[in-house]
């Protein structure tokens, strides 16, 4: 045993700078217009600013419960969701703010949800971990580690059953990979050739336990081989690489019904939930090092600047707009009403909420 404490376990080899990303030349990236590149950057900035504002509201006691921030991981959700086809679907776990914004959810409704207001995306009934927007093909927002993974396989099953050419992008964290339901889903997906891409966002720590202390074997993605799933790994600090790898696997799922596992290495700057201490399992230096050298926002900023797409003026404008949007979201949330007490008993049963179609009798809610 060494005396080194706390154990610092950087999740991966240092990432190459995005500037040098060979993925920039991949067709899925090469064809991006300047405007499209800016839009990706803008979404990442909007996620970052939104979550920084969430953190402030949380620290002020304005929002309750847990707050699992995505700060540091933005390139993953934005990269993955930017290559979705028109019939592709998304489902994720509880660190879901980034995905929700990446699929286009309205930040007013997200902030209102965090504030527990009736105008929230789930009417204040779900909270931070349970954002949903089926109209944008976003199926949650799920609180139990790994519990959403069979659902993702089920959505993929339904796509195939209906003959729809789409795939389900099913996100999970490195903390979920040892859950039984996840392995059962890998097996079913491979067995039935379901159009699903399981994306492991490996931020190095399942809560406060490093990958080395929680997951046996030569790697999380390689476990796919045991099930005959296609697999790949990717650098989550490199937006272009995330896009390229996700696009390739989504096409494999959509066009050939070949399910796959994509492990994307990333890093979160904040605690598992922001109330959790950071100092027990990683060093300040480790976090600082990531911020300084591998911040996905800075890296894409520099890349786009080098490409001549992003000027400093535009970057400032984007940042100011994101901050303003976030402040508007806070005002919207603060001015919104809480759900009425009577709302507690609504949205439990479809049938009760649609009385014109009610078939059953008897009492369904009890006192």
């Amino acid at each position: 045993m060494t005396k080194k404490t706390p154990a610092a376990d950087p999740p991966s080899e240092p990432a190459p700078a995005v500037r040098a990303s060979p993925a920039a030349l991949a067709p899925v990236n090469a064809r991006l217009t300047g405007e499209e590149r800016i839009a990706l950057y803008r979404t990442m900035v909007r996620i970052r600013r939104f979550e920084e504002r969430c953190l402030r509201a949380y620290q002020q006691g304005r929002i309750g419960g847990f707050l699992h921030l995505y700060i540091g991981q933005e390139a993953v959700a934005v990269g993955c969701c930017s290559v979705l086809g028109p019939e592709d679907q998304v489902i994720t776990a509880y660190r879901d703010h980034g995905h929700a914004i990446a699929v286009g959810m309205n930040v007013n409704e997200l902030m209102a949800e965090l504030y527990g207001r009736a105008t929230g995306c789930s009417k204040g009934k779900g909270g931070s971990m349970h954002f949903f927007d089926p109209a944008r093909r976003f199926w949650g927002g799920h609180g139990i580690v790994g519990g959403q993974v069979p659902l993702g396989a089920g959505i993929a099953f339904a796509l195939k059953y209906r003959g729809v050419q789409g795939a389900c992008l099913t996100f999970l964290g490195d903390g979920a990979v040892n859950q039984g339901a996840v392995h059962e889903s890998y097996n079913l997906a491979a067995l039935w050739e379901l159009p699903v891409v399981f994306v492991i966002e490996n931020n190095g720590y399942s809560m406060g336990t490093s990958q080395r202390r929680s997951s046996a074997g030569p790697g999380l993605a390689r476990r796919a081989e045991g099930y005959g799933l296609a697999w790949d790994t990717g650098n989550g600090h490199d937006l272009y690489e995330v896009r390229e790898k996700t696009d390739r696997l989504l096409r494999l799922a959509r066009e050939e019904h070949r399910p796959s596992l994509l492990e994307i290495t990333t890093y979160r700057y904040r605690g598992h939930s922001v109330a959790d201490p950071d100092s027990t399992y990683r060093t300040k230096e480790e976090i600082e090092n990531y911020r300084r050298t591998k911040d996905p926002l800075s890296l894409i900023h520099d890349t786009l600047a080098a490409e001549g797409v992003l000027t400093e003026e535009l970057a400032k404008e984007i940042d100011a707009a994101a901050r303003a949007e976030t402040e508007r979201a806070v005002r919207f949330a603060e001015e919104s009403p809480y759900p009425a007490p009577a709302d507690i008993l609504k949205d439990i049963y479809w049938e009760e909420d649609n009385p014109a179609h009610k078939q059953s009798r008897g009492r369904i809610s009890f006192e």
Partner: protein
Amino acid sequence: MPLITYREALNQALAEELERDPAVFLLGEEVGQFQGAYKVTEGLLARFGPKRVVDTPISEAGFVGLGVGAAMFGLRPVVELMFWSFYSVAFDQILNNAANVRYMSGGLVNVPLVIRGPANGGTNVGATHSHTPENVLASHPGVKVVCPATAYDAKGLLKSAIRDNDPVMFLENTVLYNDRGEVPADDYTIPLGLAEVKRAGTDLTLVAHGRAVVNSLKAAQLLEAEHDLSVEVVDLRSIRPLDEQTVLASVRKTHRALLVEENKPFCGVGAQLAYLIQQQAFDDLDAPVQRVSALDAPAIYSPPLEKEQLPNPQRIMKAALAML
């Protein structure tokens, strides 16, 4: 009307709903090629093909969760658990996902899913295979829970369950699978949440569900033959929604309620009914509400003792006579 078994009635319901709605499909262990562990799905693979009748590996959390996901996306999966006892390994999928998704999404998502299979003791298979979780399931808002006792009810309730837009937990009984009853060959449904008076009487009400109904009817016959008592038997059929009015109307008529179930006593379905009756019909009661449940231990293997552990006509009669 044709006289068919409870098993055949379920099979008819599945076949008719598969025929009626292309979104309906069956999923479970041994439901296809093996023809069903209890033959409930016999012949359906040949008739509807492997897309609609899907054999799964032994992987309840995986395939129940897959069913929930498919239902969220608008299909109507009918998932078979070989035994309801195996729900424990899929508990998270049933109670965090199927039951909660509608609420947590503020009503944006619904889960038109049926999970069905046998949930009963009495077959000498020991504690792991003899769970009767209707009370556990029904204590979770978001799911509906149905326990048919007869072939006629099994078909009509299963068809309603499959057409329902909420998750329905459908609890059958292996001991009843061979029971015969008159069942129309054509389409009919029975609404969930509608109890039925299976036997009219004036001296005492037995309230039961599932196989406890059959034992209650036997007890009622013996009480009439041997003690000249007129016993009413109310079959709940559905636990959630619960037909409180039929229960209360019967108790107001007979003034005595004996609650019979195969569940364990602690927080069983009878506990909910006893609360209901004391709250709504207190002044109508001529005796305290009593109940006959499974004896409060894990299901015992030893065959003669398991008979004694479960409610049987003799135990029901004894409890009834003590109230009169």
